[in-house]
Amino acid sequence: MTSSLSHFKIAPQKHFINMAISVRNLTKNYGTQKAIDDISFEVKTGEVVGFLGPNGAGKSTTMRIITCYQAATQGDVILDGVSVREDPDNIKKKIGYLPENNPLYYEMAVIDYLKFCAEIQGVSKSNLEERIKEMVRKCGLEDEKHKKIQELSKGYKQRVGLAQAMIHNPEILILDEPTSGLDPNQIVEIRNLIKELGKEKTVILSSHILSEVEATCDRILIISKGRIVADGSSVDLRKQAQGNELLTIQLDVNGNPGQAPKETLESLPTVLSVTPIAGREHYYEVQSKPELSSKKEVFDLCVENSWYLLELNAIETKLEDVFRELTN
C-alpha cells in the first residue's frame, strides 16, 4: 500500500485566476518550530474542502493565516485576487470565520450578538434586519433568539457561531472543527447545515474526524506535520491507496475434502497469496494479483469441488487506513 501512496503528488499550481483561495508557499514558524511548512493549494469557487489532519498538524494555523488573524512567516494567500498581506481589511469582509472552540460573548442575547456582528462586518442598515432574520431562520434559532448565549446547548451555540460567520453573506466560509464536542445528533444537524450552505459558498472546514470530512466535502486535503500529504476527493484517495484486491472467504468442504483448499486456491491464476485466518476452520484471506479480481474464480472453484461458499467479503481500503498511513 505504501508504494501506491507516492502517487499523491500535488499538482503544480499554475492558474490563479478564478480561484477563490490560493495559498502559496505558506510557512509559519513559532520560534524554531515550524507549524506549517511551505504549504500550497488552491480552492475553486464553490468548492467544499476538508482539511484533515491529526491535532497539531497545522490546520488551525493555516486557517488563522487565511482569515488574517496571524501573519505568515513566508508565503502568501490570495483571495479573489487580493493578498492577505496587502489588504486584510478587504479580505476580512469576504470571509466568514468560525474559530476553534467557537468563542462567543456568552452574556449577550443571540439576536443582539448577531446584530453586533452584522454591524461590525459593515452590513448596511437597510439590510440589517433582513440578514439577521435570514440567519436566524437558516440556522434554526427562531425559538432561542432572545435567550442569552450562555443558556444555549452546545449544538445551539455552534449554530450561533455559524450564524455570526455568515451574517454578512461572505463568499468564503472558514470553519475550524465545526462539530467538535457535539453529540452525534448535533453533529448530523450541523453537518447538514454546512452541506446546505456549501451549495452557494466556498467552504474550508477542518476536522480530525474522517467520516465527517467524507460526508461533507468535495475534496480532502490531508495535512500532517505542517505539510500537505494528500489532495483529492475521497473516492480518489481511496482508489489510489487501495492495493490489491483482498477477499476473506469461508468454505465448508463438507464430505469432500479432496485436495487441501488452501493449495487449490493458490493454484488459481488470479490469486497472489492465501493466508489462513487463525482460529476458524477453512477461513482464508485471499489476495489477488495487481489489477485482477478473483471473486468469480473462487466461486467457480467451489462449484467444481462441490464446496459450500459460506462467506465471501471484499475488504475495502478504508479512508481511515489512508489517513493513518499518511499521517504516521
Binding site: 476580512k92 470571509i95 474559530p99 472552540n101 460573548y105 449577550m108 453586533f116 461590525i120
Partner: protein, 241 residues
Amino acid sequence: MDKIWIITKRELATFFDSLTAYVMIVIFLGLSGFFTWLSVNNIFVIGQARLDVFFGISFWTLFFFIPAITMRSIAEENKTGTIELLSTKAISDWDIVVGKFMACLLLVLVALLCTVPYYITISRLGQVDHGGIIGGYFGLLLVSAAYVSIGIFASSITNNQIVAFLLALFIGIFFHLLFDLISSTFKGPVGAVLEFLSARVHFDSLSRGVIDSRDLIYFFSLILGGLVLSTTMISRRNWQN
C-alpha cells in the same frame, strides 16, 4: 468611527446589563458623597462653598475604581478567545481598543455626572468659583481618561482580570503618587521631569481653573501612549518569535 461606536455600545451594554456599572457608580457616589458632606472635613465644617474636598476624594476613588472597570475589557476576550473572532472581523485593532476606551470613559463620565447635584447644591449655598469647579471636573475627566488608558493596556497584556487590575494599579500609582513623592528628593532637571510626570501636579493646576497646554499635553500623551501600547499588544499575535 462607526466601528468604534459599535464596540463602545456593546461594552456599555455589558456594563449596564451586569451589575458592574451600578455597583461602581454606587460605591463612587457613596464614598465621594460621604467625604464631601458627612465626614470630619466636610463642607459645613470648612464653611466655604467649595468642592475641593470632593475633587480630592474623587481623585483617589477614581484611581481604584477605574482599574476595576477596565480589567475585564481585553483580558476577558483573551481568555475566552473572542479576541480571535473580533480581530478577524472587518475592524482594526485600533478601533477595538478605542471603542473599549470610550466605553470605560463614558461609564466614568456617567458617575461624574451623578455628582452634578453637589455642584448645584453648593452654588445655592454661597458664592462659588465656577471656573474652578468646571476646571476640577475637567481635570477629573482627563485623569480618568489617562487611567482608563493605562487600565486597558494592563488588560491587554494578560488573560487574567485580577492581574490586569493589580497591574493597572501598579502602573497607576507611579503617576498618581510616586513620581510626586520621589521628585521632592531630587533637585534640578531630574526633579523637574519627575514632577512633570506626576498626575497630581497637573490635576491640581487644572482644578484651580487654569487650563494650561502643558497639562493637556501631559494627559493626552498618557492617553495616546496607553492606546497605542494596547493596540500593539493585541497585534502581538503577528509578531515573529
